[in-house]
Amino acid sequence: MEVFTRFAGDFREYSSIFVGGLSYTLILWAGSLALATALGMTWAVLDGQRVPILGHVARWFVIFIRGVPILVQLFYIYFLLPAIGIEMSSVQAAMIALGLAYSAYAAEVFRAGMKAIDGGQIEAAQAMAMSRFTIIRRVVIPQTFTYSLPGYVNIIIMVLKGTAIASVIAVPELTRAATLISQSTYKSFTIYSMLAVYYMIICVPMVIGLRSIERRSAR
């Protein structure tokens, strides 16, 4: 019992620092997710709609990005961009690296969703003289989102957990905040348990939601 009281006391004591980290985690999550969604949909459209040349570029980009660890990509972007004269904060670098990395995973999800769209709809749109661009914008993209919902929720969770990787380039997000507190207080067990609890508070409802979406779409 005493252990719990102590944990609760520590939880209150350090919560302000954790909440500060949480805000960076959320910003990074939103930014990376927006980038990953937009780019992922772009790769999926280019590849799935067989756009000449660009379609192949998109496909190989996705394959290559998925073949390299995100940590390596993050180092690459963080150290490389300044070398070619592009200065940016660690938050911006992390957002770009995570956005690019997860765009490849999102593209796979969207590509699979795109395949589920009935070909007759495209033909119908063509018969109504819609241009290729309009068909993609009005028919393909909205339905791709619907069909790839379970996979996309998965991506949302993936990106949130991926933000922890940004701690290695000193983005002051949750994991980084925890590392700093544990280094100064030597209460590693308590601090890292708290950290896990913070992630669980956000992720557990999403994982449970994902499961029920999967159950429904499996039927």
Partner: protein
């Protein structure tokens, strides 16, 4: 620029290949441990006891909710405080195994659920015991449809083994970090490291995609989170 890269590649390759070897050892150990642990979670779910199934589901949900990076930190920095002291490589392997066991369990669950219910009923009506049904009807078919997602998990594990760099396991990413700090040839070093990862992951991924298309009844592998 390319000549420069090739010179560096020759110079740095031995150290990076040492790192790659550690990466492969960690990944292989993780693959085995997470398979066993994942099978254990799935066995709990199928045990027929609601309590055990609940334990399995909650464990999987909680594990999936915590970033792999945090699990690695936890194993290396937090566990020694309660008396579990491990070398970096053991702590890293343990954390990755724990983290990936949840995805392994999900792979197995989806594979088993993809089997037609009618087959179970048929087996039952023929008087086959539960264990016999499991070993003769479910497992052979589930193995087939679990193969592509299993391959995806293997790739994921290989890539996640890079997280062990942060707890000083001398694997590929860590070696690249050290080399780039020493030589300031960041771009060449990390390009080389990225190519080494890609050289293993891309052929495996293409193989997975091929097997997805050609294994009848195999479901598309799910993306990991």
């Amino acid at each position: 620029m390319i000549a420069d890269f090739l010179v560096d590649a020759k110079r740095f390759s031995p150290l990076l290949l040492d790192g790659l070897w550690v990466t492969l050892v960690v990944s292989f150990a993780t693959l085995i441990c997470s398979t066993l642990l994942g099978a254990f979670w799935e066995a709990l779910r199928l045990s027929g006891s609601a309590v055990l199934a609940g334990v399995s589901t909650s464990a999987i949900t909680l594990i999936r909710s915590v970033p792999m990076m945090v699990q690695v930190f936890f194993a290396y920095f937090a566990l020694p405080e309660i008396g579990i002291d491990m070398s970096p490589i053991v702590a890293g392997t343990l954390a990755l195994s724990m983290g990936h066991s949840a995805y392994m369990a999900e792979n197995f669950r989806l594979a088993i659920q993809s089997i037609d219910k009618g087959q179970l009923e048929a087996a039952q009506s023929m008087g086959m015991s539960r264990i016999r049904t499991f070993s003769r009807v479910i497992v052979p078919q589930a193995l087939k449809s679990a193969l592509p997602p299993y391959g995806n998990s293997a790739i994921m594990i290989l890539k996640d083994s890079s997280l062990c760099a942060v707890i000083t396991v001398p694997e590929l990413t860590r070696q690249a970090q050290l080399l780039s700090a020493e030589t300031f040839k960041t771009m060449n070093v990390f390009t080389l490291a990225a190519l080494m990862y890609a050289a293993i992951c891309i052929p495996t991924a293409l193989l997975v995609r091929y097997s997805e298309k050609h294994l009848a009844g195999a479901k598309t592998g799910r993306a990991h989170d």
